[in-house]
Subunit: 202 residues, 4 copies
DNA sequence: AATGAATGAGAATTCATTCAT
DNA sequence: CATGAATGAATTCTCATTCAT
């Protein structure tokens, strides 16, 4: 919603960030025009350039910030459960719970960060993909350790991890706050499915 | 001056379809310009309009055709395995194999059909979503029957199905023809994971 | 209205002429596209060129034909009343009646012929303007003779004639077949006004 | 690169208005391209949109402004001659003088406002026609009062008024500043003709 | 004659970006 | 820090016209 006039300071940037996120989420990066964004924020197009370098850089910043936050949050969550470090099942449980909770709360960021990769210029693309890879490595690591210990049984930990991530992240696509299922129910369901899907027989 | 170069006759549309699919896959619908498309096909921009009604309609046709083909192919595949109709495990196996095979062969169509939904105008959007829903209903139906018969155990067949579909469709994102894993390996891995994830204990 | 298919022969041209006239009348020459015209006639654009040389020439032909008909019809009407040749009042009466009748019956032709002059290329423009001038000369001639004989009194026969012509031709703008006034009433009213407006005192 | 040449500030719109008027007058609304207009003004095409909403709206504004000015000017002129309010002959004299003077000075506006009606979209069309009707009502009112008082004698005041207006407005079509007749002569001639054409016998 | 597919130019409009004020 | 006006390139789409079939 537009602010009446002359919004200023750090607030303005935050408004731009939020409206931008929403617009990209709803229409896509290419389809969002800076005029639209400026109008939403309640300033003139030219004024945007006091807060962003340019459109591409704005997108990159959104994505970088998201992945930064994601990696940081997981690091923290994972350190908090340090004593589980050696138990792949416990770690996977923690990961599923973390991933779903974090993603459901930031559905728009997630959508943008995952589906606007192709709108990034090569340099920016590489940087974001690298961050994403680091996050994926976390899951793959858990699966690999599980396999090594004989508690998990999958022929290809990497492909298995991709599948799990797709399943979990997909929640952002269909989750609805007023829907039948809340975060708790979804987490329980998916935790069960993920663990079963990886489980070694016996 | 009339036609001196470029594509010809009914072939032209097929060329447009293929190049269009590729360009949308690579850059996104909004980012693909008809100039680009025409150039790839080797005709003038204006000539495109002898074959498509407009850009939006072109996208819609691509997506409609994809879902049409998908539904038809599954119907056929599912009819071919008629004697499994009563066995949810067998049916799910068949579905996973079908879905992966069909999708891996049409990665670009799939990508476009799934990720350009937001580029559709409301009417077209509704039509495509409805087709997608019909396909999803197939999986949900299998899961529900499995649960009813006690061979599957999940608290919410619909959410479980969404997860499975996300996992399977996600293959399109990372599959590479020259990659480590072929269709057979992926199918085996994911069939196992899916069936285990649904399985009732015991 | 479109004819079903393959309309042919001299009929086709007549259909083009009529639909063209209507479209130009309603939307203007520039605003009428040949695609529209072809669709209205029920043929493809390309086929138009079997009947017209090009768009500009088509307009010119419409206008030339109209003025041709107009001059011919007046010549005939004026010859029919040969014995009035010497009486300016009688001649003007005849002219008003003729002009209104002829124009009301061909409102669209008139509109096009008068208001699309600026759409003509220089050469065509000159030709049409010349035809129009010949027609105007007829009125001016009547007024001049009337002034010479003392039955009319206006300071400038040419300007007076332009005024009379504007008044009479203007009928095409507001006349409606189902309107309050019919051709007879209008003719009577305007004949009276024209003769009074020119009349010498006494 | 930002502004390096061309027009500036609030002056720019006035330049657009004038060049636009001229171009529409000379070539017609449909035939005038915004490229042309921008070139005449000395700015880029895109810059036009800092001053107009779109082409159609620009035309509408021109016409609205004209009719606004016309109605306002007549109101004032008619108020100035208040003591004549009761004398239809004096009022008609005043009207003819006003109409000719105002129109001769604004030939282009008049032409555009009267002959581009068909280029207006329905809503805009209705608005302009309504303004025109208000102006016409003024003349019709004078004629009606004259008839009521027995100084004018015409069978249909409305049709008579349309005729008078066509005659007077037609001046814009043939008037030339360097021509044989000046505003004064034309006004005298047409005032005489109009009053005679309406006059009751005796 | 009619068709359908082509051309190349041009239409209105929108875009990201710049910059003097 | 915001504005308003500018740029120049790009957008989708339409146009009159041509011509092999």
């Amino acid at each position: 919603m537009a602010r009446t006039a002359g919004s200023h300071g750090p607030t303005t940037f935050e408004a731009i960030r939020q409206e931008g996120l929403r617009l990209i989420y709803e229409h896509g990066y290419e389809a969002m025009s800076l005029r639209q964004l400026a109008a939403e924020v309640g300033i003139q197009v030219g004024s945007l350039y006091n807060h962003i370098r340019n459109k591409q850089d704005f997108l990159f910043e959104l994505m970088r910030a998201h992945h930064d936050g994601l990696l940081g949050a997981w690091e923290e969550a994972s350190r908090a459960a340090e004593r589980d470090a050696e138990d792949p099942v416990a770690r996977m449980k923690a990961f599923v719970a973390f991933h779903i909770a974090y993603h459901i709360d930031r559905r728009r960021d997630v959508y943008v960060a995952n589906f606007e990769l192709r709108s990034l210029e090569p340099g920016n693309y590489a940087a974001i993909v690298e961050m994403r890879r680091r996050y994926e490595r976390e899951v793959i690591g858990i699966v690999e350790r599980g396999v090594a210990r004989g508690v998990f049984a999958v022929s290809d930990p990497q492909a298995a991890s991709y599948g799990i991530l797709a399943m979990l992240t997909g929640v952002c696509t269909w989750f609805h706050p007023e829907g039948r299922l809340g975060t708790a129910e979804i987490t329980e369901l998916y935790t069960g499915m993920v663990l079963k899907s990886l489980a070694a027989p016996g």
